[in-house]
């Protein structure tokens, strides 16, 4: 099952490690990732993941990270649009 997450994080040197570590440990495989600087303090991370597990098992854990400001699960339709764009 493929899922897409739209994540906004604080810009810190280790923040991508944090996001990716939680993703791996909770049993999700990253299939695609886009990172861009938003402004002086935040960064956008779009993450596409694959797993048998429910996506909430990942999104709630990412949400708990102190440096994660927002974490939104995109509906499947957005995923298709994103993939085709």
């Amino acid at each position: 099952m493929m899922h897409a997450l739209e994540i906004t994080v604080q810009q810190r040197p280790e923040v991508l490690e944090r996001v990716l570590r939680v993703t791996r440990h909770r049993g999700f495989k990253v299939t695609q990732m886009q990172v861009r600087i938003n402004d002086d303090t935040s960064m956008a991370v779009d993450l596409w993941v694959e797993a048998e597990r429910a996506i909430e098992l990942l999104s709630t854990q990412l949400d708990k990270l102190i440096d994660v400001m927002h974490c939104k699960v995109l509906p499947a339709v957005s995923l298709d649009q994103a993939a085709n764009s």
Partner: protein, 561 residues
């Protein structure tokens, strides 16, 4: 110090600790944290020297768990920091508020494999709630303030702050940062209504109480809820002490080594009300068959626990101290569970513990029950991990969760002795007993020196069956009695060893020595070791075998002696 006057980063660290009411830190010095140790010298914060950083951090955990305050520990870079990792992981899995401060090599040499350099921030990612490395002196004070906030807010946990040596030595002007005010997580009215409906319509409700109740300061609220509703209850290892001993319908611990009555009542219930607990595998047995006919009402501060392992019919991720009183008011006088209360009482009667054990051998469960009955009101029991830990959980009783320290989530052998040291520092007037096993005790035995150094009156009850008992039990039951590396018959002379640390003690081997032995230990004014030699035929019963349902507990199988 006058306004505008500069100080070193290291001095600011101590000042931030003092500003947070920290009176004692636990630690071990080394090269990269020397400026902070210099700032400690003669300062307002007391330092307790451990003899291994794992011991320091476990003492901080014991301090935090026994007092409800945030524990603080120090370690140097490299091996000092790596030695903290186990204790940080323990604090993470048991949600203990902890601030660990580590020295780091100077910023100019980070990434060069400098002496005693290891990537502590990288290592901390999987074993802390959050972590920081301070690379700008202006960020030092706000970072430390934030660390204390994060450690204690919401679901508590360990926070590590790695401070390079040049930052510790850099000059700064001390300014108290503006502190953010975190609103308490409020429940939604609609959720409270839905929860109340579930409770009112349940015919066989059961409370499954975890460590979150104590951490949330909601013990009194929970007891009020139980008094008002009469709903029967069970507790997890970390939840012990939340429900008062002798409460009607309270069946003790559930799970792998829980009471049979507790497990069967949960299996039978039609509403499982989960309060500050997380469906740990040691609690649920085979998850698919855990309380499989029950609806679930899940109350926990951590939204990530909701639906993680078991879907809830109604869930509220908010402060228990707000949710429980609201539910108490909403359902008071509206329950119809009289028959269920009778059924639970019957289960309780049918499966009560039997302490009759004829013969000369010391029966540890009976001894621990006697100990619980003898302990004064202000007491703390710190366990290690293994058979003795489960016997403590089954057979002792506690007035509040802060009185029972046990490494629950991580199951760390070596936890007990340093945790007891931390508890004794936090509660100097309390009777602090560490109940340990001959395997676990040797894991942080160096901390006997800390007891000697500070003349701490910690009591050590060492239950010795010359085995790694829990592993041996599993080898006996599930590995065809192939006793691989679990024989400890070459143990040291524990009482002689204790005496080397000025700790008096004695060995008892017979049931008729238990009473006097416990009295001697409890009445001693200083530290004491009661070494209790038991037979290795005794296992922990009952037991849910791995992969089995909690309905299928194995009963006692010992050969009669």
């Amino acid at each position: 110090m006058e306004a505008g006057q500069k100080m070193r980063g290291a001095d600011a660290v101590i000042k931030v600790l003092a500003a947070h009411g920290v009176t004692t830190v636990f630690g071990y010095p080394g090269g990269a944290i020397m400026p902070i140790y210099d700032a400690l010298y003669g300062g307002p914060v007391e330092h307790l020297l451990s003899r291994h950083e794992q011991g320091a951090a476990f003492a901080a955990v014991g301090y935090a768990r026994a007092s409800g305050k945030t524990g603080v520990c120090f370690a140097t870079s490299g091996p000092g920091a790596t030695n903290l990792i186990t204790s940080l992981a323990d604090a993470l899995l048991d949600s203990v508020p902890l601030v660990a401060i580590t020295g780091q090599v100077s910023t100019s040499v980070i990434g060069t494999d400098a002496f005693q350099e290891i990537d502590v921030l990288g290592m901390s990612l999987s074993c802390t709630k959050h972590s920081f490395m301070v690379t700008d002196i202006n960020e030092l004070i706000p970072t430390l303030y934030r660390a204390f906030e994060i450690a204690a807010e919401g679901r508590p946990g360990p926070v590590l702050v790695d401070i390079p040596k040049d930052i510790q030595l850099a000059a700064l002007e001390y300014k108290t940062p503006l502190q953010s005010v975190n609103d308490e997580l409020q429940p939604l009215v609609a959720d409270l209504d839905a929860a109340a409906e579930l409770i009112k319509h349940a015919k066989k409700p059961m409370l499954y109480v975890g460590g979150g109740v104590g951490m949330a300061g909601a013990v009194a609220h929970l007891r009020q809820f139980i008094d008002t509703t009469g709903i029967p209850s069970v507790a997890t290892l970390k939840g012990l002490g939340s429900i008062a001993h002798g409460t009607k319908g309270y069946l003790g611990m559930l799970g792998m080594h829980g009471g049979k009555g507790a497990n069967l009542a949960v299996q039978e219930c039609d509403l499982l009300m989960v309060v500050g607990a997380r469906f740990d595998d040691r609690v649920t047995g085979r998850l698919a068959s855990f309380a499989s006919n029950a609806k679930v009402l899940h109350l926990d501060i951590d939204a990530a626990e909701i639906g993680k392992l078991r879907q809830a019919d109604v869930a509220i991720a908010a402060e228990l101290s707000i949710v429980l009183p609201a539910l108490t008011a909403a359902v008071a006088g509206k329950l119809d569970i009289a028959q269920w209360q009778v059924d639970v009482e019957e289960l309780s009667r049918k499966h009560q513990w039997n302490y009759q054990h004829p013969g000369d051998l010391i029966y540890a469960p009976a001894m621990l029950r006697r100990l619980a009955n003898k302990l004064p009101e202000d007491s703390v029991v710190a366990c290690d991990v293994g058979q003795h830990q489960m016997w403590v959980a089954q057979h002792m009783w506690f007035r509040r969760p802060e009185d029972h320290l046990s490494s629950a989530g991580l199951g760390t052998m070596g936890f007990g002795l340093p945790a007891a040291i931390g508890a004794q520092v936090a509660r100097p007037d309390a009777t602090v007993v560490t109940v340990s096993g001959d395997g676990s005790f040797m894991m942080n035995v160096q901390e006997l020196t800390t007891i000697k150094r500070r003349k701490l009156p910690v009591k050590i009850l060492l239950i010795d069956n010359q085995k790694l008992g829990m592993v041996k039990q599993w080898q006996q039951l599930f590995f065809e009695e192939r006793y691989s590396e679990t024989d400890l018959s070459d143990n040291p002379n524990f009482v002689l060893m204790a005496s080397a640390f000025d700790i008096p003690g004695r060995t008892i081997t017979r049931a008729d020595q238990v009473e006097q032995g416990l009295d001697e230990m409890l009445n001693s004014s200083g530290p004491y070791m009661l070494h209790v030699s038991i037979d290795d035929i005794f296992n922990v019963w009952p037991l849910v075998p791995p992969g089995a349902s909690n309905s299928d507990m194995m009963d006692q199988m010992e050969k009669q002696t």
